[in-house]
Symmetry: C2
């Protein structure tokens, strides 16, 4: 089994989608070979019919898209701990996944983009800056100047989870599962790229995040970035 992932300076994995999958794989007790890709050698992904990470290769099976990978793992490894636990939770999982992609990651985008630029290999920085300019109409420095607004938007986006985590240890209840990994993927993007302090120590989301960093022998905590 192989997981293709974007790897920046110091072997840093920043993609929230890759992190989501890494936590799901660990939950299933799977530890694939990790294949690092850079922005300039994305043609290594051509075999998958697209150019985005993560790509999971399991024997003859190639799966792209973090949600599809989670569903694949659940079906292919039914005897390993479940990511969902029921069809209803899998249905809700898609809604959760879409909320993470549309709301949470949008709220992280302005905050994490300058730091992602900083940890991108020098030769890829012009490509990175240009692609973000095409998406947003803003330079990296202009995005950097929006930091306060970005943090405010991110803290607001987390409010429903803050209320949830004030009442129970994990988003999935007593123990972590897919929805926790989905959110943690986003916060790993922040950990690996953002240099400031995101959340107050007594914020229930921060208390939960610290627990998430320790899971699976410190899978998250051990990666470069602020814990």
């Amino acid at each position: 089994m192989k997981l293709y992932e974007l790897s920046l300076s110091e072997g840093r994995t920043v993609s929230p989608f890759v992190w989501r999958v890494r936590f799901c794989l660990a939950h299933k007790g799977l530890d694939p070979e990790r294949v690092p890709i850079s922005y300039h050698d994305k043609d290594q992904l051509a075999f998958s019919g697209q150019d985005r990470v993560p790509v999971l290769v399991d024997g003859d099976t190639v799966v792209t898209d973090s949600w599809k990978i989670a569903c694949y793992l659940e079906e292919a490894y039914p005897d390993a701990p479940s990511l969902f636990g029921s069809d209803i939770a899998r249905g809700m999982g898609l809604a959760f996944n879409r909320w993470c992609d549309h709301v949470l990651l949008n709220s992280l985008f302005l905050m994490c983009t300058p730091g992602t630029y900083d940890v991108t290999q020098k030769e890829d920085q012009p490509y990175f800056a240009q692609s973000r300019f095409e998406w947003t109409g803003k330079t990296i420095d202009e995005i950097r100047a929006m930091e306060a607004q970005a943090i405010d938007s991110h803290k607001k986006a987390l409010e429903p989870l803050r209320q949830t985590l004030a009442e129970q240890p994990f988003i999935s209840g007593a123990d972590p599962a897919f929805s926790d990994y989905c959110v943690m993927g986003g916060l790993m993007w922040a950990k690996t790229t953002y240099r400031g302090s995101l959340l107050d120590d007594n914020d229930p989301v921060e208390v939960w995040r610290q627990k998430m960093l320790d899971l699976f022998d410190g899978l998250g905590r051990g990666t470069p970035g602020l814990n």
Copy 2:
């Protein structure tokens, strides 16, 4: 079993929290006696130790708060169809519930408040307008003037669900369950109070809403308001 609910003109139930519980009860195959309350006779709820609907009375048990009622129903009636299907889904259900209350209902607030005023009994309208003025600093007419902005905010809040429902029939997957009722509670507030058309006919949320209106012998469709 009795369900205390706020009832406005034409016996109209507008509370998204009451509707959430009515759908959960129907899912469990339960049909309690409904006890209508008006804004001016909230002291009928004093026995519950608070003054908000819904209140469920099941024999000697009194349960307030729509989330606690859903959890109570799941525990007290384990042989009836499950609202969650797994502990993981119940955990996610709380996050979903908090998202509905914090984001979805906030997005509906400006849109539904003028219509809620209109269907409030004449003698309660001054109380209603005053309480909303205390919350928002705005008169009913000032809120009414914000309609376009309110619709825009509501459509944006629904985006993650729109993407989900483009891929599967219900938020909970193949069949409706708690998360569907949680969202539908909010949209029933809109149906019973808002006179305009909320969503385009081909919006996946609208396609889903029409199916939800038909559930349980037209529980939603049969109530006064635009279908």
